[in-house]
């Protein structure tokens, strides 16, 4: 799985960090997403998909 994020449209709500803290973090300055792992292991795929689905601004993309 490849994960990509659109920083420009991120609103820093933190849903991704709440759901998949091993894959996402937030910048301390503006709360925007930091992608920790753009090709996470299989064990993380479900959480990453849920994070992408829950993201209020739809800035997380996944490709298998």
């Amino acid at each position: 799985m490849r994960v990509s994020v659109d920083h420009e449209h991120c609103c820093g709500a933190g849903m991704c960090v709440l759901i998949a803290p091993d894959v996402f973090d937030q910048h301390g300055a503006d709360g925007r997403v930091v992608l920790l792992d753009d090709s996470p292991p299989a064990a993380q795929h479900d959480a990453v998909r849920q994070a992408a689905q829950a993201c209020p601004c739809g800035v997380i993309d996944t490709a298998d």
């Binding site: 609103c11 820093g12 933190g14 960090v17 910048h27 503006d30 709360g31 849920q50 209020p56």
Partner: protein, 403 residues
Amino acid sequence: MTETRPEAVRMPMTRAPGCPFDPPDGLATLRADNPITRMEYPDGHVGWLVTGYALTREVLADPRFSSKRELLRVPFPGGPVGTMPPAPPGHLHGMDPPEHTRYRRLLAGRFTVRRMDQLTERIERSTAEHLDAMVRQGPPADLVECCAYPVPALTICELLGVPAADHDRFKRTARMMNALDNDPAEAYAAATSLDAYMRELVAVKRAHPTDDLLGDLTETDLTEEELVGIGTVLLGAGLDTTANMIALGVLALLSHPDQFAALRDDPAQVDGAVEELLRYLTVVHTNVQTALVDVELGGQSIRAGDSVTFSMHAANRDPARFTDPDTLDVRRRAVGHLAFGHGIHQCLGQQLARVEMRVAFRALLTRFPTLRLAAPLAEIPVHVTAIYSAPRIPVTWDADGDG
């Protein structure tokens, strides 16, 4: 051929008797019929009411709809009627990008998941102190007065940087602003007094910056007006909502003894229980947007200028999204609920609210395993205004031992 149009409904605001946790009567029927329907606003405007989960998510993430205060129509009777002035500086929830974006970025870094998690220990300490006092006082007690209100009030005071000497003044004013039995003149006076207090506080922080949110913000390019606006908004958005989620959350658990027992016997479930209580209760039950251009939506033609109201509570009870949606089930995976909104305005303080709720529920159930209502549920008022609220929750417990 003439177009047939369903009659416009009014915003349902009254709950069926004996259903203090369900969306006001009529919303479920509207949702089952069509997730978007015509609605008449108190000023006579005929706009729309959205009750379905998928459509609510879609529209709240659509930049063709605006949150600008000057376009807003209040869907409830008794609110301001007529064109409102634009949002004051700092009131980001009443703005669109790019104005909203600038504020959001200055603030979002202060409310990150990890930063809020670090407050857990401090909030646990203040919760324990309040529950100690509740034990000393002995049963029965008002849960709102003892815990649900003062702990979030203290937390937001400390986060903003309100000096301890001012906490009581700050809490009194905030409570007055939102008290339900207040007449509007009193509420207005309280809001004016809070604004004046915030102005003094900002001046003090500018002169002597301290290590807290307002102190840090004085070192950005925000003007005094903006700082006052932000301080007021963070308090207004963060206190009553969290306090009522804790109060109503406990009320819901106590009225569902199996759910209370499930959480008490396995406190590790608290994260999921918080999400489920947020979904089930949806204290911030309604949201409003205005169409900026003509939009086709759910088979309907929305015209530029039309107001669209969202019943977030009805959306969170949509059977198309949640199985058996009217059942409170603390073991459910409720992530994806819309209790904090959706789109660029999704609650800025949601991670703080989560920490506050987790700590409160965990502490209350651990400390008071025999907690129960001290009055019949039907005699405990739950109000439907801009949010759902319970001004008093009488509780009791077995005082033997530690609760």
